[in-house]
């Protein structure tokens, strides 16, 4: 039988605020355990939550970016369950009145554009962390993360392959970073995903029973986890079995999913409106303000790059994959005064290559756009050749010296003095009479040999334009 995969994703994006969603405790990552967990985060008696205005603004921003309906008013609800890293015994979330309603996100897979529906996005608080290892049979709890604001972005079950799911997740990941509402750091858990997966015979309208794959924190694992789960479901159904609706955990080491269900009963969260929090109204002023602040989004920027800088689609896509990279590129053009072609080449080839090699992000680049601009200026004013520039760039990567200082110290300045170049060429012609004969008898290709010899003799410093000109003149005779 032919099976069709149906996937919906729930993405949790930690909002990049300075403080928690309901308290004034810091959200900075990596602090000593429990040093950023205040009385509100600990759920001590008598405390009350006070909503962070930045959280509301960020959610509205996201809603506008996916062209969703941003609710006039939204309501917080309690989701009740017991776990030690949730000290209150309930998570403050949103149920019936989420802040962001139906929207959409377009993805590109295999050259096709597909629209994926976003059902809703709601605000909630993150839980703390439980550490199960080595506390004499006890569990250690760190509540620094408790109360960190999350935007849970729920998609429609619109995706039909693991590839589409990854494409969608990447687009949301790119978007929240463009909007500056989430740092997107998956290692630190700032951006996580649960996948709802089911299968059905091709042509059937009705959905099959789904399983939920929990907490997948890399793009690679999303794809692998979904594919392995689909295989498992097909095997069960084709053997005459049935799928149980349950939560499953992906084990990357074994590349398998396994049931997380313990003896506990099925989750029954008993949501109800949180009496500690009043409804949140989104004012027209806030809407107008957010709309005015909305940055140029990736797909619009990409189109502009193609038109304004005459870049091809692939280069434009690469340059707009992150806002920082796009900003770097545009700042480089302004600062260096070089044309877009040269700048895009340097950013997508040399710079991106060096960053990838060390697994660095553009914001961590040791060569800032100001430093790179100086280097490019030296190419355009003929101080150095493009080839030498690559050498200088490599040195700049590990040293704080400016391009100018490196060029000076290493004696890399291009030889443009035609007298000096002529001297080199005269010697090469004298030493290679055989090749001169060949050239004069019509073998034009030999010209390249002379250029190569000249560049070699000058250690790459001879100005290639000058070399060509002088060689042509001299070989005529």
């Amino acid at each position: 039988m032919q099976w069709e995969t149906v996937i919906g994703l729930e993405i949790h994006a930690q909002l990049a605020t300075k403080t928690k969603i309901f308290s004034g405790a810091s959200t900075a990552y990596g602090a000593e355990p429990n040093t950023q967990a205040c009385a509100v985060d600990l759920g001590l008696p008598g405390v009350l939550p006070v909503l962070n205005q930045e959280v509301v603004r960020m959610a509205v921003k996201f809603g506008m970016a996916i062209e969703a309906e941003v609710a006039d008013y939204s309501v917080f609800a309690r989701k009740n369950y017991f776990y030690p890293d949730l000290p209150k015994g309930y998570q403050i979330s949103q149920m019936d009145h989420p802040i962001v309603g139906i929207g959409h996100m377009d993805i590109d897979v295999d050259g096709q554009t597909k629209r994926v529906g976003v059902t809703r996005a709601h605000l909630e608080e993150d839980a703390g962390k439980s550490l199960h290892e080595d506390f004499h049979g006890l569990t250690g709890v760190d509540l620094n993360r408790a109360g960190t604001p999350l935007l849970e972005i729920v998609s429609e079950p619109d995706m039909r392959s693991a590839k589409e799911a990854v494409a969608y997740m990447r687009k949301i990941h790119e978007l929240v970073q463009y909007l500056d509402i989430c740092d997107g750091n998956m290692q630190e858990g700032s951006f996580r995903c649960d996948a709802n997966v089911s299968i059905r015979p091709v042509g059937q309208e009705e959905y099959g029973t789904r399983t939920e794959l929990k907490n997948i924190n890399s793009f690679k694992f999303v794809e692998k986890a979904i594919n392995i789960e689909v295989e498992r479901q097909i095997d069960i159904i084709e053997a005459g079995g049935r799928i149980t609706q349950e939560t499953r955990l992906y084990d990357a080491d074994k590349n398998e999913t396994r049931s997380m269900r313990s003896k506990e009963e099925a989750n029954d969260y008993r949501y109800f409106p949180d009496p500690d929090l009043l409804p949140v109204y989104i004012s027209d002023e806030l809407r107008a303000q957010v709309k005015a602040d909305l940055p140029e989004l990736a797909h619009i920027k990409r189109q502009r790059f193609i038109e304004q800088y005459k870049l091809d689609l692939e280069t434009a896509t690469q340059l707009t994959s992150s806002r920082q990279l796009a900003d770097y590129f545009e700042a480089l053009i302004t600062e260096s005064g070089c044309n877009a072609k040269i700048c895009s080449n340097w950013v997508t080839v040399e710079l991106s290559g060096a960053l990838n090699k060390q697994n660095l992000d553009i914001s961590q680049s040791p060569v800032t756009h100001e430093r790179l601009a100086v280097l490019l200026k030296r190419i355009s004013d003929n101080t150095i050749s493009g080839k030498i520039a690559k050498q200088v760039f490599e040195i700049m990567w590990t040293s704080a010296d400016s391009a100018d200082a490196i060029i000076e110290a290493q004696g890399l300045k291009q030889i443009t003095d035609s007298g000096a170049i002529e001297a080199i060429i005269d010697k090469i012609i004298a030493d290679n009479q055989g090749q001169v004969e060949q050239y004069l008898s019509g073998k034009d290709k030999v010209f390249g040999f002379f250029v190569g010899q000249t560049m070699k003799a000058s250690q790459g410093k001879a100005n290639p334009g000058e070399v060509n000109k002088i060689l042509k003149e001299k070989l005529k005779r």
């Binding site: 605020t17 004034g24 405790a25 909503l51 962070n52 930045e54 309501v75 949140v280």
Partner: protein, 95 residues
């Protein structure tokens, strides 16, 4: 609507409340009475009534995104049953 003893036990379990078996029946009766009241209210025509999200007819006040809490870990740890390496210790929650 009438709740059974099983329903009461399930609700008690979800809320992690220990209840005496002898009280189950009276809880079932009281809780059923509350649900009946809600059912009665549900029959009222509310087509033209704006839903009330909160009994206080006010708007949520918002707080600026500025750190206002200091580290008080020592104070919080002093009232915790068991702590180690900066962590609160609790009975093991996974097998």
């Amino acid at each position: 609507m009438s709740l059974t003893a099983d329903d009461v036990n399930k609700i008690a379990y979800l809320a992690r409340l220990g209840i005496d078996t002898q009280d189950t029946e009276s809880y079932a009766k009281d809780l059923s009475g509350m649900l009946d009241l809600v059912a009665q209210m549900s029959t009222v025509d509310t087509d033209n009534v704006v839903p009330m999200a909160h009994p206080l007819g006010q708007v949520q006040r918002l707080r600026p995104d500025q750190v206002s809490e200091e580290n008080q870990r020592e104070a919080f740890h002093a009232i915790a049953p068991q702590v180690e390496a900066g962590l609160f210790l609790v009975p093991k929650v996974i097998e």
